[in-house]
């Protein structure tokens, strides 16, 4: 089915990579503007409460932030390396690099987990009594934004992880898939009627076309060799689009890091 569909698409706009790219970029635009709304909110509140933002930012751990930045930058590097590897038909290298990306992304999330739980442990989370009682309004806004923006970003990291697992599945999947083949399909394959039919004892009974009512069951064994290590070109597009998405997640963090951790 999927192969059939693919040929039909190709028929409509023969391997139009450019169009697929336009689609992907437009999708990224919507992601940028989704965060964009929050960046507008950040800009507004920072202009309203400049001192409070600095006080609150000083409470965030710059070291953890910087480490996380490095994690994401490096994971971006491993993604592009995976893409190049796939382009050079080096499947194994590509798979390893995607695993590295996944690992860095997990490292990022683990860091984030410790960072958030430390803050929550100190009673700093949206709507907490300590936050509302001991902090100025500007700081409350800062933490609300911090949790919303890094939370949404974290959600995107998780989505990215899931996407990479799918890509891994597609790359590691054997290029030729063995499927059960019902007789209805098999009979349409050209030449089937000329296949020789052999009894269990080994004597020849004639061709499929000559079968009569006496035969109760035909056991068909097909042996074929899958084409090993032949890349499926669609995997490349999948990995590239996953990569584009992942770099966007990186770009957003590149802005989140100084805005929340460094403006002390």
């Amino acid at each position: 089915m999927s192969n059939h569909a693919a040929t039909m698409v190709a028929h409509k706009h023969p391997s139009d990579v450019e169009g697929a790219k336009i689609g992907m970029w437009l999708f990224l635009f919507t992601e940028v503007l989704l965060f964009g709304g929050l960046f507008i909110a950040y800009a507004v509140y920072r202009s309203v409460y400049p001192e409070a933002f600095q006080t609150a930012a000083a409470n965030l751990d710059t070291f953890i932030g910087a480490v996380n930045t490095l994690f994401l930058l490096t994971s971006s590097l491993t993604v592009v390396i995976a893409i190049v590897a796939l382009q050079k038909d080096k499947q194994k290298m590509a798979v390893w690099m995607i695993w590295a990306t996944v690992l860095f992304a997990l490292g990022f999330m683990v860091n984030k987990y410790f960072e958030w739980s430390a803050k929550i442990h100190h009673g700093i989370y949206p709507g907490s009594p300590e936050l509302l009682a001991d902090h100025s309004k500007g700081e409350i806004v800062f933490y609300n934004l911090y949790y919303t923006m890094t939370g949404l970003h974290g959600l995107h990291v998780i989505i990215g992880l899931i996407v990479f697992f799918f890509v891994l599945y597609f790359i590691k999947r054997r290029p030729v898939v063995t499927e059960e083949m019902p007789y209805e399909i098999l009979k349409n394959v050209r030449g089937t009627s000329r296949l020789a039919v052999v009894s269990e004892k080994g004597e020849e009974l004639g061709t499929v076309a000559q079968l009569d009512d006496k035969v109760e069951l035909v056991d068909i064994r097909l042996t074929y060799e899958p084409v090993a290590e032949k890349r499926d070109p669609r995997n490349f597009v999948k990995l590239e689009n996953a990569g584009l998405y992942w770099h966007l997640v990186d770009v957003i963090w590149i802005f989140l890091f100084p805005l929340f951790y460094l403006i002390t």
């Binding site: 059939h4 569909a5 039909m8 698409v9 409509k12 706009h13 139009d16 450019e18 169009g19 697929a20 336009i22 689609g23 437009l26 999708f27 635009f29 919507t30 992601e31 940028v32 503007l33 989704l34 965060f35 964009g36 709304g37 929050l38 507008i40 909110a41 507004v44 509140y45 309203v48 409460y49 949206p126 709507g127 509302l132 100025s136 309004k137 500007g138 409350i140 806004v141 609300n144 934004l145 949790y147 919303t148 949404l152």
Partner: protein, 543 residues
């Protein structure tokens, strides 16, 4: 893509309505990735919600016939106008022209076999349905439909006990559906034009959809995150807009209108595109000022993103902001005026056939002029301070949205209906329906504008005695309007199933959709045409 619904044995040239695919019956529709079937799916669902919206509006008018409580309590009334707004905006007008006619005719008009991402196209319809179901769930679960108005202003929307969260989730999903349609259209227009069809040979409907699609892609995400922030405040207490937590409720309005103002252009631009198709066809001549009309669509979309603050003159934003926004707002009038002048100039030295679609185009111009000109009154700050949030605004936006884009949609259904379902409408019934609509529409909304200038605020369950007579007149008008609308929906439905068979080109149109059989075959064209001329090349001697 059609392959999913296709046997390999499909006869090319067979109508898309008759094609037997992998699925049959209703599944042959709701799983079809054919852009034409998706267009009709949208059309059907959109008109179901339109009918509901009309009836909600009628109930509101009936409540206003008397002072005090008559039909319903204030609580019910508040939910009713919220639902009316949500349905009419998110479930009707936004997908109304782009989702239905855009899906159906955009690929045909540019000489393509489908949109660029056919499966994504089906997904956006499914998301539309998911959003609609969510909105319906909001009515029947929890404390019932939100009572905030479709604008969901904080802090009221974060405090009310009604089911705002579910209504917002519905709006978010519908927004996502709209984004996917826009993304698909941009990719389609960029990559799938037939050979020879450069941007300046595209039909003007396609131009308007192009501008619309960009608004959908660039503005919708901002409102998406804004609605999410309100949901977060209601569920997790993250009060980004909550003044008790240092937040600013006016920031919500900025973020909301960053989308929702351009959204009015994404409601009206496709309507303008339709008018740019109907007028040259029935004038039997080329359109006057093709490039001016085409680029003014882009101009409207561009300037439209700069003017959201004119909804906020009295909100408490700075006076500077009000003045800047007022100044910018007036510039939207220019490309709009250019369009109107060019349309009228197209009628000059033409050979005009006065058919129902053309009458609707005239009605569009009539209403849209009133809507646009009253828009100028409200763009002027001092006047808006007086009329803001009164019935004047309600009248104004019904003139532009309803009298404008929706009348264009009606005209388009009479114009393109014969192509879509291959059958003609009943002429006399259609004209009677139009006359009823015109009488009712103008009585209702002109009276509303009068009431607004007298000081009648919008979203009032009840009214003061001095407003009573005008309210009565408006309600009378609504009866004419509703009967005209129901008659029209009836006659269109009749034409779908029982109408006379339509010829391939009943109006003598020159764009590509008129050059293929009626109803169109599954893949539109046997052979992709090569374009050598402008879209509205009519012969000098009218036939």
């Amino acid at each position: 893509m059609p392959s999913h619904t296709l046997d390999d044995t499909v006869q090319n040239g067979e109508s898309y309505l008759d094609v037997k695919g992998r699925y049959t019956g209703v599944f042959g529709w709701i799983f079809s990735v054919d852009h034409k079937r998706i267009g009709l799916l949208y059309l059907g669902s959109v008109f179901v919600f339109f009918t509901v919206g009309i009836l909600l509006g009628l109930f509101m008018r009936l409540e206003q016939m008397t002072m005090g409580e008559t039909l319903m309590t204030a609580t019910t009334y508040n939910r009713l106008f919220t639902l009316h707004g949500v349905i009419m905006i998110f479930l009707f007008i936004i997908p109304g022209t782009a989702g239905t006619l855009g899906n159906f005719f955009l690929p045909i008009q540019i000489g393509a076999k489908d949109v660029f991402f056919p499966r994504l196209n089906l997904l956006s319809w499914w998301l539309y349905i998911a959003g609609a179901v969510m909105a319906l769930l909001a009515i029947f679960t929890g404390d019932g439909m939100a009572d905030t108005g479709w604008t969901f202003y904080v802090p009221y929307s974060t405090q009310t006990g009604t089911n705002v969260t579910l209504a917002l989730t519905a709006a978010f999903i519908l927004g996502f559906s709209s984004i996917l349609t826009g993304l698909n259209f941009v990719a389609t227009i960029h990559r799938m034009r037939a050979p020879g069809m450069n941007f300046h040979r595209m039909p003007l409907f396609v131009w308007s959809l192009y501008a619309t699609a960009w608004i959908q892609v660039l503005a919708t995400p901002v409102v998406g995150i804004t609605l999410v922030l309100v949901i977060l405040e209601r569920t997790l207490g993250i009060g980004i807009f909550n003044p008790a937590m240092g937040g600013d409720p006016i920031l919500y309005q900025h973020l909301f209108w960053i989308y929702s103002h351009p959204a009015v252009y994404l409601m009206v631009l496709p309507g303008m595109g339709v008018i740019s198709e109907i007028i040259p066809t029935f004038c039997r001549r080329t359109i006057f000022g093709y490039k001016a009309i085409a680029w003014s669509s882009v101009g409207i979309a561009a300037v439209g993103t700069l003017v959201w603050g004119h909804h906020m003159y009295v909100s408490g934003q700075s006076s500077t902001a009000s003045i800047v926004f007022s100044f910018l707002t007036f510039f939207v009038a220019i490309p709009t005026a250019i369009k109107v002048f060019n349309w009228v100039a197209t009628m000059y030295k033409a050979s005009i056939r006065v058919e129902v679609p053309f009458l609707y185009a005239l009605a569009f111009l009539f209403h849209f002029l009133i809507g646009g000109l009253t828009g100028l009154m409200m763009a002027a700050i001092s006047v808006d301070v007086h009329v803001h949030d009164t019935y004047f605004v309600v009248g104004h936006f019904h003139y532009t949205m309803f009298g404008g884009s929706v009348f264009a949609l009606f005209g388009a259904l009479y114009y393109w209906g014969p192509k879509m379902w291959g059958r003609m409408y009943h002429n006399k019934t259609a004209i009677v329906a139009l006359v009823l609509q015109l009488i009712g529409f103008n009585t209702l909304y002109m009276t509303m504008m009068y009431l607004g200038y007298q000081g009648m605020p919008r979203r009032y369950f009840d009214h003061l005695p001095q407003f009573h007579d005008a309210h009565l007149v408006a309600t009378f008008g609504s009866w004419f309007l509703v009967s005209g609308l129901l008659l029209m929906i009836g006659t269109l439905l009749y034409s779908v199933f029982r109408g006379e068979k339509a010829p391939a080109n009943p109006w003598g149109g020159t764009t590509l959709e008129w050059q293929i059989p009626t109803p169109p075959p599954l893949e539109n064209f046997d052979e992709i045409p090569t374009i050598t001329d402008e879209p509205y090349a009519h012969k000098e001697e009218a036939v």
